[in-house]
Each structure stands twice: as structure tokens, then as C-alpha cells.
């Protein structure tokens, strides 16, 4: 298997197959990150597409010295997720106001049921619901560490915050998530 750096070189020489291979190799990771963050498969697909479009356009600016290609890819994804979160914040605020109105409750809760993908496993779905109740700062830290398996220094690179901040966000995120899940009636077992 060719290393990512060689595929990137191939892409920069204009080799289509190298790009296709790069996409094939990393789409799952990007999609999962987007899905875990947004909790919505349609949004996650659109965002994944956006991520690769941006990667494709800025590939020439990537240097292996900046970190491994997957770390760079994760940074790009994370930045787009943050942009997307800010962009859609207004909609979500409107949603939560409507949530408070009893008449709209049914319609809203119907629109809110986790989509099919999340129902693949019950645990996965409950976790997804719990994650969506975490603040985006804590959510991204927990996803990167516990679902994507990045180490602290990679997360530090992606989030562009000091290691101490990374650690404390992960720690607080886990504790809050555990409490949310308990509130939801889910008891994690060992």
C-alpha cells in the first residue's frame, strides 16, 4: 500500500487514480467524524463532500512536515464542522424555542428522531443522542479521542489548543456524557 504522502504527490502531478485512492482510503473516517458530530447522516454526507472538495483545492499547501495526512484531513474536517455549527446555530436556537411550545412538540420530535444509521445499534444511537447534548467543544474532544482514537498530540494539532486544554476537555466531556447517559437511563457496563 502506497503511503498517503506518495498519493498526495501523485495527485499534485494530476493523477486521477491517486486522488481516487486517497478518497477511498479516508472517506470513512471523515464521514464518521461528521456523523458523530452532527448526528445526521445527510448533513454528514454533505459535509464529507465539502471536506474533500476543500482538500482537493488546497492539497498543494499540504506539507508532510505539518503532520501526517490523516491529521491534516481531520483538522480540515473539524474546521468545517465548527463553521457548520456556527452557521446552523441560529436554526438550532429557533428549534429549541419551538421545542418549548407544546403545540409543535409532535412535529419537532418527529423531525428529531435519530435517523436510520444511528439505529444500527442501540448503544450507538443512545451514545449519539448523548453526544448531541454535549457542548461542541467537549463533543469534538471526546469524539476525536474516544471514537476516532487520536492521541493527545494529534488532537492538540487539530484543535490548536494546548495539551492541558485538550486533556481537560476530554475529561470533562467523558464525565458529562456519562451523566447524560445515566439521565437517559443507560447504564454503561464493563
Amino acid at each position: 500500500m502506497e503511503p498517503d504522502a506518495q498519493l498526495v504527490q501523485g495527485c499534485l502531478r494530476g493523477e486521477g487514480p491517486a486522488w481516487e485512492e486517497l478518497v477511498r482510503r479516508h472517506t470513512r473516517r471523515v464521514f464518521n467524524l461528521c456523523y458523530r458530530f452532527t448526528g445526521n447522516s445527510t448533513e454528514a454526507e454533505d459535509l464529507s463532500q465539502e471536506v474533500f472538495l476543500r482538500i482537493y483545492r488546497t492539497l498543494a499547501s499540504y506539507r508532510p512536515a505539518f503532520g501526517a495526512f490523516p491529521t491534516w484531513l481531520t483538522s480540515v474536517t473539524r474546521n468545517l464542522l465548527v463553521d457548520h455549527y456556527r452557521r446552523t446555530r441560529r436554526d438550532r436556537l429557533t428549534d429549541s424555542i419551538e421545542d418549548a411550545m407544546p403545540k409543535l412538540e409532535n412535529k419537532q420530535s418527529a423531525a428529531r428522531t435519530p435517523d436510520k444509521l444511528a439505529l444500527l445499534s442501540e448503544l450507538s444511537a443512545q451514545l449519539q443522542q448523548g453526544l448531541s447534548r454535549l457542548s461542541p467543544e467537549l463533543r469534538e474532544a471526546v469524539i476525536l479521542r474516544d471514537l476516532q482514537g487520536l492521541d493527545y498530540s494529534e488532537i492538540q494539532t487539530v484543535l490548536e489548543v494546548p495539551e492541558g486544554t485538550v486533556k481537560s476537555r476530554i475529561n470533562r466531556g467523558r464525565i458529562e456524557l456519562a451523566r447524560i447517559l445515566e439521565e437517559m437511563g443507560l447504564r454503561p457496563q464493563n
Partner: protein, 239 residues
């Protein structure tokens, strides 16, 4: 040793779980968690959660996503011209139910025709396959057999229709539906028009408990059977 409290435990929880606390801190942590219910419980919960998350499989990539990404970056893709990929792309259609059903029906039809025309596949000689011979042997038996099998098919239909109408709530099983369907194929080309126009009954159509409907159905079917027998057994005689 005394200033270790709940807030401190929470703060160092992940470090504790990852085993990166100093020995002294780890000892204090354990002592506190062992005596404080809230912290003890939290440690268990977070440990379980981290374990579960690490064991969770990544979601599959939606199948259309990669082609979409490639198309949005490289533009519409030319069809893969590579031999084996193209060939494999076609394979699945052989396994589609319609195709399999069709193949089985054709095979069954050939067997039925051979059997009813008195040709045993095991004793087939080349001469038997000459059109004149096939026709001669066939002509003898086909009329009788056809009349019998047509009646049999109709009987099956009537039983089936009665069943579906008497149990309107029962989900029509897809395994039953094709049963009458292959039969028209096994009929010789000289299908009488009445027979042809009456296609296989659809189990899904209005499942009424109406007794009158059942009666009319029985009546219609009886008339058809008689019609088939008349046409099949006796040459149509001038009245």
C-alpha cells in the same frame, strides 16, 4: 493526603483511568474513590463509557458517498473500462429473483412438456427431436393433459382466492403468489383466449369479506372449468 476531594477526583479522573497519575496521586485517588460513593460510581461509569466507545465500530460509508466525492472533484467519471469490474457488475442480475424465477419456470416447462408428450429425457434420441416426431407424439397426449392441467391450475386458483378472501388480514405470502403464475408458460401455444385473459389472481386486491363476491368467484370459476373441459376434450361442434 487530606486535601483530596471530589472536585479533585473529577479533575484527574481520565488521568487516573489512563494510568498516568503519579503513584502517590493514584493512591490518594483510589482511597477517595473507595470511600466516596459518588466518586466510586463516577469512576465506574466513565471507565465503562470509554471502554464502550473504543469498542464501537465505525459506521459504514454510505455507498454513494465516494462516487459523489470523486465526481464533485474530478468531474463526471468515464465508465470503468477495466474488464473484470465490468463483468462483475453484471453478475448480480443473474441472481435477481425475476431472473431465477424465469429460469426455473423455463426448465420446469421443458420437463413438463417432455413428460406429457411421452418423451423421457433419459431416452432421448436424435430422431425424437425432429419437429415432425415431436409434433406427432405430442399431438396425441397434449389435448388430454392440457385439459387436466388447466383444470388443476384453476382449482389451485380457486382455493387460493378463497383462502385470501376468507383471511383478509393474513399477509399474502410472496411464496404463494408465483405458484399460479408459472403455469401459463407451460401451456401449449394454443391457449384459448378466455384462459389468456384471465390472469393470475392478485392476492392484494380489495380483501373483502363479502360473501356475494365469493359466490360469484366460485360461479365464474366453475364456468371457466367447464369451458376449458369442453374446449380441451371435445372438438368444438356446431350447434
Amino acid at each position: 493526603m487530606t486535601d483530596w476531594n471530589c472536585a479533585r477526583s473529577e479533575e484527574r479522573l481520565s488521568d487516573y483511568l489512563e494510568g498516568i497519575l503519579s503513584l502517590a496521586e493514584a493512591a490518594e485517588f483510589s482511597t477517595h474513590a473507595g470511600s466516596c460513593d459518588a466518586c466510586g460510581k463516577l469512576v465506574k461509569q466513565v471507565r465503562g463509557l470509554v471502554h464502550q466507545m473504543s469498542a464501537l465500530d465505525a459506521l459504514e460509508t454510505p455507498p454513494q458517498l465516494i462516487p459523489k466525492i470523486i465526481e464533485s472533484t474530478l468531474g463526471p467519471r468515464r465508465k470503468q473500462s477495466g474488464g473484470w469490474q465490468r463483468w462483475f457488475a453484471r453478475v448480480p442480475q443473474f441472481w435477481q429473483p425475476q431472473f431465477a424465477m424465469g429460469a426455473i419456470t423455463v426448465a420446469a416447462t421443458i420437463l413438463i412438456v417432455l413428460y406429457t408428450t411421452g418423451i423421457s429425457p433419459a431416452k432421448l434420441k436424435k430422431a425424437d427431436l425432429s419437429p415432425a416426431n415431436v409434433f406427432r407424439t405430442a399431438n396425441r397426449q397434449v389435448h388430454l393433459t392440457y385439459a387436466r392441467s388447466a383444470k388443476f391450475v384453476n382449482d389451485l386458483r380457486v382455493v387460493y382466492e378463497i383462502q385470501t378472501r376468507l383471511q383478509p388480514d393474513a399477509e399474502p405470502s410472496p411464496a404463494i403468489t408465483p405458484a399460479p403464475a408459472p403455469q401459463p408458460n407451460s401451456q401449449p401455444p394454443s391457449v384459448n383466449p378466455q384462459e389468456k385473459s384471465q390472469t393470475s389472481p392478485h392476492p392484494s386486491h380489495s380483501q373483502s369479506r363479502n360473501g356475494a363476491m365469493l359466490a360469484s368467484l366460485l360461479h365464474r370459476n366453475w364456468a371457466e372449468n367447464v369451458g376449458v373441459i369442453v374446449i380441451g376434450d371435445i372438438p368444438r361442434s356446431p350447434r
